[in-house]
């Protein structure tokens, strides 16, 4: 158990994944743009950065920022009806941000042919067995695939 007391403002990194509940009828890109626009607005004010991976099966997100702000953001995010089965993969203090340059990165489906990288991850977190996917796996995945949000939403 971690006994160290971390200041409420010290830098933390949260990594979670969740199941995509967005209605198949709605064009996902519109929804994602809406999510990104809202989070960019919120996160700039809060000094939060991170990355969001969105696929047909679900979301994986990294959020980095002052501990209290990350906790508060998560309370808001976890209640969003657009996703379910929210699973925290890691929540730890960190020395530096992995995604310092943009308020929210985003990667769509990597390519139409590529396998959905979140399918096995989500299957993992809902089965009773030991988790083979760790937060750092997801972090690496996101580092590889995220693009600048500017490419998605005009500033």
């Amino acid at each position: 158990m971690m006994k160290k007391m971390h200041h409420s403002g010290s830098l933390y990194r949260l990594i979670y994944c969740s199941r995509n509940m967005i209605d198949r009828g709605a064009p996902p890109e519109t929804e994602i743009r809406a999510i990104l626009t809202a989070s960019r607005r919120n996160n700039k004010l809060d000094n939060i950065t991170g990355a969001l991976l969105f696929t047909a099966s679900g979301f994986a997100q990294v959020l980095e920022g002052p501990r209290e702000v990350v906790e508060r953001s998560f309370e808001r995010i976890s209640g969003d009806p657009r996703h379910a089965d929210v699973t925290v993969l890691s929540f730890t203090p960190t020395e530096r941000r992995s995604f310092p340059d943009w308020s929210m990165g985003f990667s769509g489906q990597i390519s139409p042919d590529a396998a959905d990288p979140l399918v096995h991850l989500l299957a993992d977190t809902t089965s009773a067995g030991p988790r083979v996917t760790t937060g750092s796996d997801v972090l690496h995945l996101l580092e590889q695939v995220v693009q600048r949000e500017d490419e998605w939403i005009p500033a």
């Binding site: 971690m2 971390h6 949260l14 906790e71 998560f74 976890s78 209640g79 929210v86 925290v88 929540f91």
Partner: protein
């Protein structure tokens, strides 16, 4: 104050100004403008203002006063007596209604002696609290100042001036138990309005573990977050309260909503929480009970909801149960069983039965397992599968276990020196390893039984105890010559890792494997694997529940060293052990495993 009054009474303003008659028209116009201005100002104030007289007749109120009280618009337009207004407020309980009227009457009666800062605070529904002050404004009129928290009145110390009590839970800001009970009682008194109202008691799953491992400050922060999530799921008319600890309650007006709401509450509380740098995964169990008109008291309703909650918890948590009268009957039977069980020891209703254990190769009896029996004067023989879990839960298993140890050691001294006795040790006993060590020592000392003839059977669950001294104590027992057996092997989650954590003397292969022999090949493979494992680790392997000679032959062939079960004998009374031993010595060859 005089000025304000003057503006409200334009007639007097004009008549008080002799010599201005030529300009009367202007003055009246001016006064009307003043009056409109005053009304406008009062209308813009962020608080309710009402003027009443000594008969509690209303003379004036601004829109906010009507709004804060939740008075219907048609009534707000008139100037009804205060009593009528209060009667029209939906969320006001009878007691609160009387309280406001009494407060107003008392302040008015006190006249100049009235404490101007005296303030009545009431809670109408969730997040909706009012503070009311009454001040004399002369001419037999009084002004009510009604604040919903935007000014300082409700924000002040939570100290109602009406002699009542605080209604807020200081930690979460929800209503507290006392206020909740008050509302429920008021509701129960008016049978017609109570009908359909339903109570959901919500208990957090695994909260205690969080509190114990991460500490109370983090536990408290978690409760606040949980309260916030619950509040987000409630409607305006719902009454949400914290009953204390990790238990919450919500009162809703319609029973139809109860189950969907319960499902939703469990869902939101099962989402992870981030608390002060930690991740907490909890959950919730919910009990639901509804009012039946004129039949259910508030206390009954809460008891029913608690019973349903208990049922949900017993089912493993993470679910809800609706109260069913059968639950009350079960609870009653259970309470009677508990009471009887607590007395069983002192009433001498307990005894031990012994089931023999046989070495397959030598065909010799090696020992007996001591099994607890309870014969109640009216209930008769109560099955251990019924009373042992109850004893575990209410904690008297520790005293029972100590009695078994003492009695078994004593009775075993009458057996031949090569025959040992096996005694079951409950997880609860192992959880207090110091007390267990003392009990074992005392049982051996008082009986004079050599420690080599005592075997302690421990389940896997007991090995998961949080007491760090458990392993240390078990090692000490072994160092003294006492043997340690792992009971019910193969039924838990982590059998193999448990074997690594301690050098057991014996593995007891669960009866389910033996029962499955001949029906599925897996059972045979498992028994063989366990026996091989035991041989490799230098442990005895005993198969439990052996009922037929065929099973005995199979487990022997698969490598088990010992067997126990009906094939050899059912558990026998202490007094019959001698007779069994001598009979067995004569006819023992009949349990030849190959036969």
């Amino acid at each position: 104050m005089q000025e304000a009054q003057a503006k409200l009474a334009p007639d007097r303003l004009v008549s008080d100004r002799p010599g201005f008659r030529p300009n009367q028209r202007l003055s009246v116009a001016r006064a009307r403008a003043d009056s409109r201005l005053a009304n406008k100002v009062l209308g813009l104030l962020p608080l309710g203002v009402a003027v009443i007289d000594a008969d509690l007749q209303l003379w004036f109120w601004n829109e906010q006063a009507a709004g804060l009280f939740g008075v219907p618009p048609q009534m707000a337009a008139g100037m009804p007596p205060l009593g009528e207004i209060l009667a029209g407020i939906r969320h006001l309980t009878a007691r609160q209604r009387d309280g406001i009227a009494a407060f107003a009457a008392a302040q008015i009666a006190a006249g100049d002696r009235a404490e101007p800062e005296s303030c009545l605070r009431i809670s109408l529904r969730r997040d909706h609290r009012l503070a009311i002050q009454i001040r004399g404004i002369g001419s037999g009129r009084w002004m009510l100042i009604i604040d919903d928290g935007r000014l300082a009145l409700t924000a002040g110390p939570n100290r109602p001036a009406d002699g009542g009590v605080a209604w807020l839970d200081p930690l979460t800001g929800l209503n507290n138990r006392r206020h909740f009970n008050q509302v429920l009682r008021d509701l129960a008194e008016t049978a017609s309005s109570g009908t359909g109202h339903t109570v959901l008691t919500i208990d957090l799953d695994r909260f205690k573990a969080i509190n114990d491992t991460l500490g109370h400050p983090i536990g408290d922060a978690l409760l606040c977050l949980a309260a916030k999530r619950l509040r987000q799921e409630t409607r305006e008319d719902d009454l949400l309260a914290r009953l204390g600890g990790d238990e919450f309650v919500i009162l809703i007006a319609s029973g139809e909503r109860a189950e969907p709401l319960a499902a939703r509450m469990i869902e939101v509380l099962s989402r992870p929480f981030l608390v002060e740098g930690h991740v907490a995964n909890i959950g919730a169990s919910i009990g639901i009970a509804g009012f039946a008109a004129g039949e259910t008291s508030a206390d009954d309703l809460m008891r029913y909801a608690e019973l349903a909650l208990y049922d949900a918890k017993s089912a493993g948590g993470g679910t809800w149960r609706v109260f069913d009268p059968a639950m009350a009957a079960q609870a009653q039977a259970r309470r009677e069983l508990e009471t009887a069980l607590r007395k069983a020891l002192t009433m001498g209703e307990l005894s031990l039965a012994y089931q023999p254990q046989l070495n397959v190769r030598t065909q010799t009896l090696t020992g007996f397992e001591a099994l607890l029996r309870w014969t109640h004067p009216t209930l008769g023989q109560v099955s251990p599968t019924t009373f042992i879990p109850v004893a575990e839960e209410i904690g008297c298993i520790v005293a029972l276990g100590e009695w078994v140890l003492k009695t078994a050691c004593q009775e075993a001294t009458r057996w031949p020196a090569e025959i040992s006795v096996a005694v079951n040790v409950s997880p609860r006993q192992l959880g207090d390893s110091e007390r267990l060590a003392a009990a074992v020592q005392s049982a051996l000392q008082s009986s004079g039984l050599p420690p080599e003839r005592l075997e302690l059977e421990i389940t896997e669950g007991a090995m998961l105890s949080t007491d760090p001294h458990v392993l240390e104590t078990l090692h000490r027992f072994r160092a003294n010559g006492i043997r340690i057996a792992m009971d019910d092997f193969g039924t838990g989650y982590s059998s193999l890792s448990q074997l690594r954590s301690f050098p057991f003397d014996k593995i007891k292969i669960d009866r389910s494997f033996v029962a499955a022999l001949g029906f599925n090949g897996e059972a045979a493979a498992m028994i063989q694997a366990i026996a091989t494992l035991g041989a490799g680790l230098g442990m005895t392997t005993i198969a439990e529940g052996v009922e037929t000679a065929h099973q005995a032959a199979l487990v022997g062939a698969h490598g088990c060293t010992d067997i126990q079960g009906y094939l050899i004998s059912r558990p026998i009374a202490a007094a019959a052990v001698d007779a069994f031993l001598s009979r067995y010595a004569r006819t023992g060859d009949k349990v030849e495993p190959t036969g």
